[in-house]
């Protein structure tokens, strides 16, 4: 398990042991592990000197934090209103077909996850999606098929 206290120590030690570092701490830990396994919440709590309940409360409040592993490539479809009126739903449907998974799922080989998010701030280029930190803009169903041509997978149970 990558989530023992010793494994995380080098990351934790870059943060001061104060409650206000909690969100940055969680971001750093998730950056390393890809998600927040339940057992690390206690480690983070001890480091930031706050109760475990507060760590859980904060982690569950912000949409960035996840408690389950996700695919190596996180595909996020913008469902903001500017993208909605430019056909975001068709883009999502095409992605579901191309990746062979539904919104909220991860492919069995852990390559891709598919989710919807609120606006990603590229509304002038709608409809758009992000794959990791990269944004693909002005999408059409055809462009989606091309982008994910080799990605046909089966849904992760």
């Amino acid at each position: 398990m990558a989530s023992t206290d010793t494994d995380l120590a080098p990351i934790l030690d870059t943060f001061e042991r104060r409650p206000e570092t909690l969100i940055s701490l969680l971001q750093a830990v998730q950056g390393r592990l890809g998600y927040l396994p339940p057992e690390v919440l206690g480690t983070v709590a001890r480091h930031a000197r706050v109760p475990r309940s507060r760590v859980y409360g904060v982690a569950s409040f912000y949409s960035q934090f996840r408690f389950n592993p996700v695919g190596r490539h996180r595909v996020a479809v913008c469902r903001g209103t500017a993208c909605h009126v430019r056909g975001a739903r068709l883009i999502l449907e095409e992605l579901e077909r191309s990746l062979g998974i539904k919104e909220g799922q991860t492919t069995e080989d852990m390559e891709y996850s598919l989710e919807t998010v609120a606006c990603i701030g590229c509304c002038g280029l709608s409809p758009c999606i992000s794959v990791g930190d990269e944004v693909s803009a002005k999408l059409t169903a055809k462009k989606v098929r091309k982008l994910f041509k080799n990605a046909q997978r089966s849904a992760h149970k």
Partner: protein, 440 residues
């Protein structure tokens, strides 16, 4: 205000956007060649903090984050003799659907943003600047961090700035995905490492903000206006845009320039800078290229998704704070979303309602429950299962949500959808379950 000769377009202005498109505009070298930090130096060497605040008041600059509060007045609220440290907080949480203006400033002119923050810090004797950037903007975060590093090395940021007694540092804080953290007190809670639950006001942040210390919170664009105002004086800024209504003593007008965006169903979405005075129609037709081929504009939300919609025949109103309020809408973030006649307005309502229901922080019952009720009712109507009673229920719900909550998210959730229900009621009625003939 700029007069528009007949047959010409309302002109663009390049004040905030003067460095957009300049190669490497985000580097200190290029920024300094183009004048960056000269106005910080002017403020530090030639002006007292109170003189800076006076110029800000004269400029009648109103906050660009949505609420339009006069910036100079806000700075004046900070206690002069505080025994606690004072902070500046730059609100870069830009998360409202359809809004993408602050991102241009941070990515293309991070030194302008920093210079504005620093002059603000000098004016209120702040020792630290926080820039709270939404986590979904890694590009903005990287540019700002690079700018901070370069500015510190050049001594325009940090200890004894430019050899004066003024010291101030700057920290970028990455948000973690919560629209409500754009609300200024939600932002403060988040900065303190907590859930972003907005606080009850008063106390206002200028008196009790981050970590209990006086804090000025301003939007990225608001702060980016400050260097120009220091350079040219508050009056020169106030002379631009729309003056106060002489018949209304409370009117503040809309002075200066503004970044305005258009997205949705237009030919050329984008962001431009104008002196206030351009109409919504000019913005959409002359700059964004008008509706897509063969389509007609059905509805426009002039700012983000939190303002009431305007119909095509209502677009001759000016993009201004008071003007749009008079038209029963609002400037909001000044980034308009255009919907054409292919849009199903009930589906648009469900989309908007889903956003707010998802983002409600849950502290206030009217917002937490109300936003979800609204969403569920729209979903029911879209599924063909709605009845006339659902429309009545919506009308009954709206006033029970509006004005009864800690922050303005709940109002933002009501305003656009209520206006759509009023202006497009027939579309909702067309989707209701048909009552069988003879049923009572």
């Amino acid at each position: 205000m700029t007069d528009k000769p007949p047959g010409t377009k309302y002109p663009e202005t390049k004040i905030l956007s003067r460095n957009f498109g300049v190669p490497e505009s985000w580097t200190l070298k290029v920024a300094r060649e183009r004048g960056a930090y000269a106005n910080l130096e002017k403020a530090l060497r030639e002006m007292t903090p109170d003189q800076v605040i006076d110029e800000m008041k004269k400029s009648r600059l109103r906050g660009r984050g949505g609420a339009g509060f006069p910036t100079g007045v806000k700075w004046g609220f900070v206690p002069k003799d505080s025994d606690k440290p004072v902070y500046i907080c730059c609100n870069a949480d830009e998360s409202e659907p359809g809004t993408f203006k602050d991102r241009y400033l941070m990515e293309l002119d991070p030194h302008l943003v920093l210079e504005g923050c620093l002059i603000a810090a000098y004016a209120v004797s702040a020792e630290r600047i926080w820039i709270y950037v939404r986590g979904e903007y890694p590009g903005s975060i990287a540019r700002l961090e690079q700018a901070i590093e370069e500015a510190t090395a050049a001594n325009v940021l940090g200890d004894k700035i430019l050899g004066t007694d003024f010291s101030c540092d700057c920290v970028v804080h990455s948000g973690a995905g919560a629209y409500v953290c754009g609300e200024e007190t939600g932002l403060l809670e988040s900065l303190e490492g907590k859930r972003g639950h907005p606080r009850i006001k008063p106390p206002f942040p200028a008196v009790e903000g981050a970590f209990g210390c006086p804090t000025v919170i301003n939007n990225v664009e608001t702060l980016s206006h400050v260097p120009w105002i220091v350079e040219h004086g508050g009056q020169a800024f106030a002379d631009q845009g729309i003056g106060p209504d002489p018949d209304d003593p409370k009117s503040m007008g809309s002075s200066g320039t503004k970044l305005m965006g258009v997205s949705g169903q237009v030919k050329h979405p984008g962001v431009w800078e104008f002196e206030f005075g351009i109409t919504v129609r000019e913005l959409i037709y002359d700059y964004a290229g008008g509706p897509l081929d063969g389509r007609k504009i059905k509805a426009v939300i002039p700012g983000g998704v939190s303002m009431p919609v305007l119909l095509d025949e209502e677009l001759d109103v000016k993009m201004g704070f008071d003007d749009l309020v008079k038209a029963e809408s609002g400037l909001g973030t000044a980034c308009a979303i255009v919907m054409d006649d292919s849009v199903d307005m009930v589906e648009a309502c469900e989309n908007i309602a889903h956003f707010f229901a998802d983002e409600s922080c849950g502290q206030c019952t009217p917002c937490r429950e109300g936003c979800h009720w609204i969403e569920k009712i729209f979903r029911r109507i879209n599924a063909g299962e709605g009845t006339e009673a659902d429309l009545d229920l919506l009308e009954h719900l709206f006033p029970q949500i509006e004005g009864r909550t800690i922050c303005a998210l709940a109002e933002a959730a009501v305003w656009p959808v209520r206006s759509i229900l009023v202006k497009f009621r027939h579309e909702f009625e067309a989707k209701l379950v048909k009552t069988p003939v003879g049923a009572s």
